[in-house]
């Protein structure tokens, strides 16, 4: 179980980080989602939240592979603002990613409920933080279509920073869960 948690940590890291060498992401999202899916495959036995997260990880894995063929020129993680047909799959992928994180956090919260360490409380808090930031980002994102880029650049920068902080907070939460597993549960 501990190794499953660390696979999720590494998976979240790969999804979050984009390291490009001549426009090629050498840390592809698909590899990240594969690691998350493999980690959650083991954890899904623990509760239904992990099971939901596991399903989302597979969906996102398929999406990240398809994205390489559908939008070879698009930056991974960005939304090419061409048409509604282009936007909808990205919006759906963001929604599935939110459900994935919801599954992980609620899974940890449910599994560690009542444990002295207070990990369930931390999971709850970080989930709220993640959801708030994600919803704020999703609210602001479509304004890119209509507002002047000079106005939007600082807003997008601040939002991206907040999203990154929230994602790192989730990543550290899973790491804490893995450590606690090592110390108390095995």
């Amino acid at each position: 179980m501990r190794s499953a948690c660390y696979r999720i940590v590494w998976g979240l890291f790969l999804v979050l980080a984009d390291l490009r060498v001549e426009f090629v992401d050498i840390l592809p999202d698909s590899l990240g989602y594969l690691l998350i899916a493999s980690g959650l495959w083991q954890l899904q036995r623990l509760n239904g939240y992990f099971k939901a997260g596991h399903l989302c990880a597979w969906l996102l894995l398929i999406w990240s592979i398809l994205q390489l063929f559908w939008y070879p020129d698009a930056e991974i993680g960005s939304v090419p603002m061409h048409s509604v047909i282009d936007l909808l799959p990205h919006l759906l992928a963001s929604a599935v990613h939110i459900v994935l994180i919801y599954g992980i956090c609620r899974g940890i919260q449910a599994y560690t409920a009542g444990v002295e360490s207070g990990l369930d409380q931390q999971a709850r808090f970080r989930l709220h933080m993640f959801m708030t930031v994600q919803l704020l980002w999703l609210f602001i994102h479509p304004f890119l279509l209509n507002l002047d880029s000079n106005v939007m650049i600082p807003v997008v920068f601040v939002c991206s920073l907040l999203v990154m902080i929230a994602e790192i907070a989730i990543l550290l939460l899973v790491r804490l869960f893995a450590r606690q597993w090592t110390e108390n549960m095995e």
Binding site: V84, L135, L138, F139, L145, N146, D148
Partner: protein, 301 residues
């Protein structure tokens, strides 16, 4: 209020944000290539060029690739598809050189020859399709050579400003008689959209091409050309300064493309000849004007 309701409201807000923005974005798509309305006067030969402006959506799958003007098979077009960028559209520009050779010295035409009027051009698109499009009016005067013109007038300097004012000045090398100011687009002057003043034998224009003209040099001065009593004799050493100012207010005028060619006719020893002064209007719409143009273009399509 429970957290569940906070999330429900937040999700509703996100949904409204997406629906509203996508709707607004779609409502401001032109959906085609639209040429601005041109009122251009030019002439063949001498490397004369004029610009054709058009608007296209940024996301357009089919864009303008080239144009063809009937009767000008050798025209040279320089394309600037992203001449100016707007939130959802590009303003494109095609600089057209008709590429007709200048008339040889032997071929002398009368100044009264009429120009060719071009109102439709063939637009060729990237998907291989083409169509006839209305571009307004382009008057193309034939190239002419007039023996009398040789060295009588020397154009010395010109300048223009971003507020669509400008001037051209010349010195007179031998006595001539100015007999007329004319243009096919004189309606612009009569409507007050363009003010053209002439200062004849007033200040002696500078001969320097090195330094850019000052604001004061560019400003409108002299008398409106309609108020100058013609014919007017100009002695050797006299000067002519033609200054202009466009007053384009309202969407239709500010989104129009204008190139006025003021034809100044001279008489010397019973021979008529003329000099042409090109007065262009720099089209540079604001974001708001472009949005309005697109909305009107959608309704008109």
């Amino acid at each position: 209020m429970s957290k569940k309701w906070v999330y429900i409201i937040a999700i509703l807000l996100v949904t409204c944000s997406w629906i509203g923005n996508v709707w607004y974005y779609e409502a401001n798509q032109l959906g085609r290539t639209a040429f601005l309305e041109h009122h251009v006067e030019t002439r063949e030969g001498d490397g004369q060029v004029f610009d054709l402006y058009y608007v296209e959506d940024k996301r357009a799958a089919k864009t303008l690739s080239s144009i063809h003007i009937e009767g000008y098979p050798n025209l040279i077009v320089t394309s600037h598809p992203q001449y100016a960028e707007y939130q959802r559209q590009y303003l494109g520009k095609m600089t057209v050189n008709l590429n007709k050779p200048s008339v040889q010295k032997e071929a002398i035409s009368e100044p009264s020859a009429e120009p060719v009027l071009v109102q439709m051009i063939t637009a060729n698109y990237t998907d291989g399709t083409s169509e006839q499009v209305d571009i307004g009016e382009i008057y193309i005067w034939p190239a002419m050579y007039h023996e009398g013109a040789q060295d009588a007038i020397s154009w010395t300097s010109s300048g223009s400003s971003s507020d669509n004012t400008g001037y051209t000045s010349a010195v007179v090398n031998r006595p001539v008689e100015l007999t007329a100011f004319s243009s096919k687009l004189m309606g612009l002057v009569e409507a007050g959209d363009l003010q053209i003043n002439a200062d004849i034998s007033g200040q002696v224009p500078g001969r320097s091409y090195q330094t850019p003209p000052s604001k004061a040099q560019i400003e409108l001065s002299g008398k409106p050309i309609a108020e100058i009593s013609l014919p007017l004799k100009i002695n050797q050493g006299g000067s002519i300064r033609i200054s202009h100012q466009f007053n384009m207010h309202g969407l239709e005028k500010s989104m129009g493309v204008y190139q006025f060619m003021l034809r100044t006719t001279f008489e010397e020893d019973g021979r008529h000849w003329y000099e042409d002064t090109i007065i262009p209007y720099q089209v540079w719409p604001m974001e708001k004007e472009m949005t309005e143009f697109v909305r009107k273009g959608r309704n008109g399509s």
